[in-house]
Symmetry: D3
Subunit: 282 residues, 6 copies
């Protein structure tokens, strides 16, 4: 007679002290302009992760031999964006100081900003790989500087030129594309043609990876705030992760699953498997 009362992400039951990686949720979706609901991603992913195996045939690795702690979710108050951001920054800083690699489950994309801020304190030469359907490079969104639509522009303000590599981008204002192309970021339109080249270029640097899941085609990932047809396939994503496994990754996030918009559960299954793979290469 066995009881089941564990709602950690599958295979992530190391104690905090013994862990190398800490997975946690940042269930904030307060600046979403179209369909909110990414706040529900982390708790849904944990439950559905029990439909996964811990073994990845893509990487031929097993999660059971990693030391990952699942810290649960940050407990936010909605409506106060700035307090949310400072909570995330504080928690990420603590993890970094204690030599844990963060794997954050969003929430919307704005949650990436405080983690980058925290990492930037410690790591010189920090490089960002940004996987997304959207440019996220607006100067402001209806007057607001802090928004899911501006987050990578804010990251650029911290890191400067030649530190941000964008993949899968297929939606944005004309100005955003032009600004990126003028040399501020390296932007791959639609796909990831330059990935091998980029990996070669940054292989000695600390790398943070932020995956906005809407980079995937909505055929396989409809459960997101702003679905954009024309995305990459799940198999592409597996190929990408395999390539990334050679890098010095110091943290990652996986954002923008809004599970209630996909009643089939497939989007959550996809997010869970991508998180498993990311944990395996961290």
């Amino acid at each position: 007679m066995e009881m089941f009362n564990n709602y950690s992400f599958i295979g992530c039951d190391a104690d905090y002290e013994k862990s190398d990686i800490v997975i946690f949720g940042a269930p904030y979706d307060g600046t979403s302009s179209f369909r909110p609901g990414s706040r529900f991603a982390a708790s849904r992913i944990r439950i559905d992760s029990y439909g996964l195996e811990t073994y990845s045939p893509y990487l031929d690795r097993d999660l059971l031999i990693k030391h990952v702690h699942d810290a649960g979710d940050l407990d936010f108050v909605f409506g106060n964006r700035d307090l949310v951001l400072s909570n995330i920054r504080e928690f990420a800083t603590k993890l970094i100081e204690e030599n844990k690699k963060p794997l954050m489950i969003g929430g919307e994309h704005l949650v990436t900003l405080p983690v980058v801020e925290a990492l930037n304190e410690k790591f010189e030469d920090l490089v960002i790989l940004h996987f997304d359907a959207h440019t996220d490079l607006r100067e402001d969104y209806m007057g607001e500087k802090l928004s899911h639509a501006t987050v990578i522009k804010r990251v650029w303000e911290i890191l400067g030129d030649n530190r941000i590599y964008q993949f899968g981008i297929r939606s944005g204002l004309k100005e955003e594309f032009k600004w990126a192309e003028s040399g501020h970021t390296t932007l791959n339109k639609f796909g990831y043609e330059m990935l091998d080249q980029v990996i070669n270029l940054i292989k000695h640097k600390p790398v943070y990876i932020t995956i906005d899941l809407d980079i995937l085609d909505p055929s396989i990932f409809p459960g997101t705030g702003t679905p954009e047809p024309g995305g990459i396939s799940f198999t592409d994503m597996m190929t990408i992760i395999k390539k990334l496994s050679t890098l010095n990754i110091i943290g990652a996030d996986v954002v923008e699953l809004a599970p209630d918009y996909d009643s089939t559960g497939v989007s959550t299954a996809v997010a869970s498997k991508i998180i498993r793979e990311m944990l395996l290469i961290l």
Copy 2:
């Protein structure tokens, strides 16, 4: 050959200048702690209102003889709660100054606060009738003073004791119930037993009516953030509105429809009909 390109609420096509009543949307749901989505209420209600007749057999009145202008939605930026609230206050103030009665479609319940603030500038002795499943009387919600869960407490800070009448309440902290019962508000647990008495008491005063639609039983209104079984029926609501029609109503709001949580469309139909009836008694 006729074209249809009118997305105003049915029967609300008076010009602004000639109107006595202005209906508008306040699509904000930024402090929702459970299920967001009331931002979509106003636009969905407008479209589905074309399934309604303009004639009410409950009141034996027809919307076609009223002068109502549909001003559309306030255009908010998500993530900045305070700016949203000041936008609403500004618009409500303008309407009041120009002698239009506001009928606001939420959004979450916090949007009521700025309208009350605006009305309180003009109307002494303002009285609030509050229909809701929840007390909304918390002093703060996880440290935040401005929240859907605190809104009536904030209204009380403006108006003081004996000015707020609550109906249908069936969920809250123990302290909230005790606080209300200690004389600050008049709270009807579960139903509306005291309604006749209250109407008699306030019949010479200016009255603002705020209807959180989750006062309804979720059998007939599942499409809301926090469904609370044990609510009143739609027929109860019609009875209530008929009774209210004798009052001096200076404005009203109808909040907390989250249409995506009810794929049958019934919640939107219910909200639309309640709005029609409210317009008929304004």
Copy 3:
């Protein structure tokens, strides 16, 4: 080892020749102005009827002792309303000539018209009991005489005054209510207060019963084209059917289930149980 390959309505497996009652589907929804889909009602009802028992504790009768034949669905071509109507009339006429009582599953409400035409050929003094949320008494609908919104007006043109009794009505144009109240039909607003009286009045006459399922409150019956809150309960419907069981019923129909709009399956379960009860009193 048993095989299951019977998709008749549960308990309706008499041969045509030995049957007293014939149940059939009329899957037409071509004039629906809001949400179509009642074409799927009959096939869904047959399948879900296997979740029912054949025994009714309401009537203390069992379907197993009745002789009912399920003839399947009329096979319509969509887009040709007049041909559809003549197909129904022809089939109903055949049943009546061969002394079978028809129990038709709609489809939308317009399908009632040809059955009434067929019955009127044989039965003098035919009386109609009309259960519905809507008046269905428009002279025309956007210029069209034959529509779900005009069907009872067309029936009145056949039968004349004092032959139509309407129950549950809560939506319509002001003119429709006034026309009915001027003596053309007996209209019960909202409920069925006059039912006992009407039953007494018509007890020696041949009665046709047409049930538009949207008479029910959408809390229990959301799966319909135009849900109208404020309807009667399922228990009310059972009470009504029990009262009707003393009448000389010569046929009936049950219309306007649109099953795809209720993913819970409850609307189909409700329709199935009402059909079981109707078969038991035919």
Copy 4:
């Protein structure tokens, strides 16, 4: 900065040793003949319980002052019914021996049987209150003795006549109703007219309460395997529980929520609130 990583039922965080009541899940739905899915009830209820308050205005009691431990779910292997039943019996026996009252969340109704078997070992004069839409009194179901449709017949074989009180029953074979009425159980058709009388009769006996949630009308509880219209309301259920609070209740279960069939989440909210109330009267 607070973390949230607690997925116990809200307010049930006592240690096992200090607890008087133990809540646990029995996620088995292997004999469901129509729509399976009650296996998902317990985990969904735990998560959605955070939409509840711990305070009940119905009972004016607060869960925070009770000592309840949430043991998680029994970890079943599907396909082996007999092993599942013996797992439940073993766990219930342990709880009873250690003087903990069990509150079990089903799963389908068959899970009640092993708990009754365990309780019957310790408590003479055990009495069962059975709330349900269905008789559950079949001798066998397609040849099988152990089924959701036979569970109360099996319970009767253990306890004998005059020990089982049934409420809300509105569906079953004619024989089941007749067998019950011949004196084996006390069966309330449709409602709970005899409840006061029964409570008076059994007030000195140990009582087990089994609530098949399909006793509720599907308007408020569509998320179940076999929805049966004509059920009791949520308010009725609250009235019943208040009456039951005077009894010597030694355990209870709440079964047959199939949450995936109600995408609005209302059924889960209803189940959660009923569990809160049951915990408050245990």
Copy 5:
């Protein structure tokens, strides 16, 4: 403080007089034989178009520099197919006479016929590019000549051989394929291998483009009446539109979105983006 009360397709707010292109809806689905609901396409597309950017990275063009007027929807009466068709023909004729290019949003595929009739009055040598999963070449459908399943056959009767080019076709009667292959139309089975060749052939002729969205694979476009697996991808569609941009396009339509069948909203997003691209090449 800004108000939003514009429900035109995004970027289509030119006055009628100043416009070169007029977009309008033809919400008719009366001959759909399987799942109706394309009547809701145009209004849903307008609302969800606000999730789009006006800039296309595929074409590197921006909708803001085009002059497009959104005329709203033709206001149809359901049940009278022939009147619907003549309404469309009349409106299309007016547009053509006033030198506006029509971009029609269906509705089912039959709505294409009257537009072709209107264009054929003015343009000699009119050529049709037909993108679809289905042949639509039946002589009649259950006896009816005017049906979604016969529409291209009717178009052929107007234009004759060598004027119709079909792409993506993967479902139909054996006879339809054989008839097409015998030289009446140019039919590409499954894909669009001959597209370059066709474009070269017709580059000096006036071209009308009719896109039945079910040409897309249902993985990316499930929201349609008759989903047919094995379709082209969204990226294929973007490639096709880019190729078409060199042609002399005099009008286009986009038909058969049935949005209620895709609760994720992805189908509507796909349709909206295809319409944006079509407007950019008109």
Copy 6:
């Protein structure tokens, strides 16, 4: 006037005696560990098959010239796994003895086992082609030998090494992959690279084909118990079936559609089309 009362799979209306192929349903899902519901597959497929044409443009063959009998569904009692398996074995044995080829619609994958047992009695050298996302090679699942997760291991115990060819496999325990690779089965990871080679190898042997539909990518087939992203496309499946058409196929099954998890209906449409193609090559 035609009636429709045929719920056989489209084009499968041969009498049993005259048929070469018998299609039947095995609606059992009792060992599903994650999401049940494949019990509903066969009845849903039959109804939706009327959205298909009988002609396949992939194979250029028409079902109308085949002699297929649809025997309906085996009538199971849930909860008794072993009885279910023996029912299937008995029915399959009867078909084989009477020289009918079985085409079974699952249910979950465990239903394959008794059919293989029955075929193995008659056919020496029986070879299995196994299309699936999952290895299904566990020795036991939580102690149980008979489970959807162990079914191919059980088949191997009957047939031995070099008789099982697995395609599309992308999920399983590390041990399962290693066991397969050690020579017990031929396992194609992710795709079907070795298919041509395998076909050549087994072309003179009797072949049974078991298709777990979750081999397909969940973008096109979300309606299954455990969706696994990274699967093959529908077009791949058509290519595979065309290749298989040269083999000596003595039976087949198509399992693991759980239609309620895909409200768009696409998964059912996909399953139906695959069954049509399989019937055409049997």
